[in-house]
Symmetry: C2
Subunit: 343 residues, 2 copies
């Protein structure tokens, strides 16, 4: 059995309250007693019970991270988010609890709030906008500070750390247009996620600015419910009556998969087909050919998300916190001149 505050107070012949006040530097304690208590605590290796302290203080010093690993191969990006988050949290004496099976489960989030297991929640990759708003309302009602990741939410009152997905997709599309591409495939998601919506808007903007007609047949939805949807998704583009000369995939891992499928099919990238991803995960730099992508700065996003959440926890709600971090086009070798434009 670990030593409790009672053991300490017995040994020292002082009351529990005095011990507590001495160790927490609160209330009136003479400097001598404080010294004695501190000394004895060190000797006995006393560590307050987290549960007892949480119960009394009504705070846990833990924050929850709700993620959805398997969805559309975003796991790399999520993985790169975590070390930064944990580091910042631990510097502030908080810990990170992972919740991987709560995504989309309103009831689960509600239980999490009510059980008061955490002092705040970071939600990465959630639902459609109306669901996000509903979720936020729910958490607000439970007085649970929370932050959404990593997209802007066109809705007052939501706190988020985001990047500009409109701009990201626009940068990629412009890059391809500059390389002479006119038929650019765009992979989107079956559900109306905000990220998806934003990127589609950026894609459309870039086309319009270049005077290229928007061809809806070039915009295909992935469907993660299918078996091996990555390859299905890739072939769907290739078997189009007029296939694209370049394809924008939703995430780097999707694009990377496309790279190896292309090799199997003896399609040369970028000579026959240009391929781009999104996120700028570490592995995108080492593929053959190296992947063109847009980088969302995962470590900074993670850091800022935790910092913001801690702020919300400290001031207890108040103004929503909205941060947008810059994205960066990383043009590498998987995109090249449009072969037809060359002729």
């Amino acid at each position: 059995m670990p030593v409790t505050i009672e053991d300490l107070s017995n040994k020292l012949g002082v009351s529990r309250s005095t011990v507590s006040k001495a160790l927490n530097d609160r209330g009136d304690v003479s400097s001598q007693t404080k010294e004695r208590v501190t000394q004895a605590a060190r000797e006995l290796g006393y560590q307050p019970s987290a549960a007892a302290r949480s119960l009394r203080r009504q705070r846990t010093d833990k924050i929850g991270l709700v993620v959805n690993y398997p969805i559309y191969r975003v796991s790399d990006f999520l993985a790169e988010l975590i070390p930064g988050m944990a580091t910042v949290a631990e510097e502030a004496a908080y810990n990170l609890i992972l919740y991987t099976s709560l995504a989309g489960k309103t009831q689960g989030i509600k239980s999490l709030c009510r059980s008061r297991e955490v002092d705040g929640i970071i939600i990465a990759w959630p639902q459609q906008l109306n669901q996000t708003v509903a979720l936020s309302r729910l958490m607000t009602a439970e007085e649970m500070p929370h932050i959404f990741l990593p997209r802007r939410l066109p809705h007052a009152g939501l706190s988020y750390v985001a990047t500009d997905h409109v701009q990201g997709a626009r940068l990629l599309t412009e890059h391809l247009i500059a390389l002479g591409h006119r038929r650019i495939g765009f992979q989107r998601l079956p559900e109306v996620y905000e990220t998806d919506h934003d990127r589609h808007a950026g894609y459309v903007e870039a086309l319009r600015a270049a005077g290229i007609d928007y061809d809806p047949s070039l915009v295909l939805a992935a469907d993660s419910s299918e078996v091996d949807y990555e390859s299905k998704s890739f072939y769907a583009f290739l078997t189009l009556p007029q296939p694209p000369t370049a394809i924008l995939f939703f995430t780097d891992p999707m694009a990377i998969r496309a790279l190896s499928l292309a090799r199997e099919q003896r399609i040369r990238v970028p000579d026959d087909l240009s391929v781009a991803g999104y996120d700028g995960v570490l592995s995108s730099a080492v593929t053959a050919p190296a992947l063109t992508t847009v980088r969302q700065p995962a470590p900074e996003i993670g850091k800022l998300a935790v910092e913001s959440l801690l702020q919300l926890i400290a001031i207890g709600g108040g103004e929503p916190l909205q941060h947008t971090l810059p994205v960066e086009l990383i043009a590498r070798d998987s995109t090249g001149m449009n072969p037809r434009a060359r002729v």
Copy 2:
């Protein structure tokens, strides 16, 4: 304020004990009252306070994962461990708490044990064997179930989920020998980690079996305390009086870094130099050239680690649990015939 058990009992006109017993299916409660309580709990959205429950039950339903992200670029492997762990844990109604700044800090681990924040601990990538043993003793003294990852520990009483690093290194070395290499560089770590020790033993075994003399000048230690130690480490091999024709790196990311350094130096892989990694992380499959490596099955290791830990928690100590999972040589394109042997 969330609704408490007191609110529930007031509303129903029964005692708190009855409510608790009804909801936990414990003790004597008539089926009618149980029904009424359950019903009311649902309506009010009652969720027991985690802190109060933990305090009373003396368990938290959480397990701690202690990792050391930056060390020798093992972060990819760690990242691939996590989803499996979290999934298994959550299926058993446990959650995962991440501790990234505790590695090597005995005092920190002790505090973690004494605060009773978690019911068990998984330690991934720790210290030297004697430190590991000391750590284990400490945790045992605190009655804290724990598991080490991911190497065998030649010491009775330690629970671990491991792979056979001797065999892994032997497989790689044999593979290179079969390709005609005689001078094989081996990257080892400055500290005497068990993994390092085992792999070195496997390397030596394979050399001996092939009748190749062990040349200590081919065995170089990386030193993560240096700036950009990855490239330092790579060049150290190249600038040897008699440089190796093949190099075994300690992790895939190290080898991947070597791949791009080689490209910068116009050294062709595998024509001029063969390069191999270790771990078999996902990105090792997509590099140019694709990396030869030994795969440690991260998802299975993660799953098994949590399963074992839960077992230790359930039976409360008892026999140590020791599992060894198979490794697999994945020969890809970064290793090839020894250019000198060819001549």
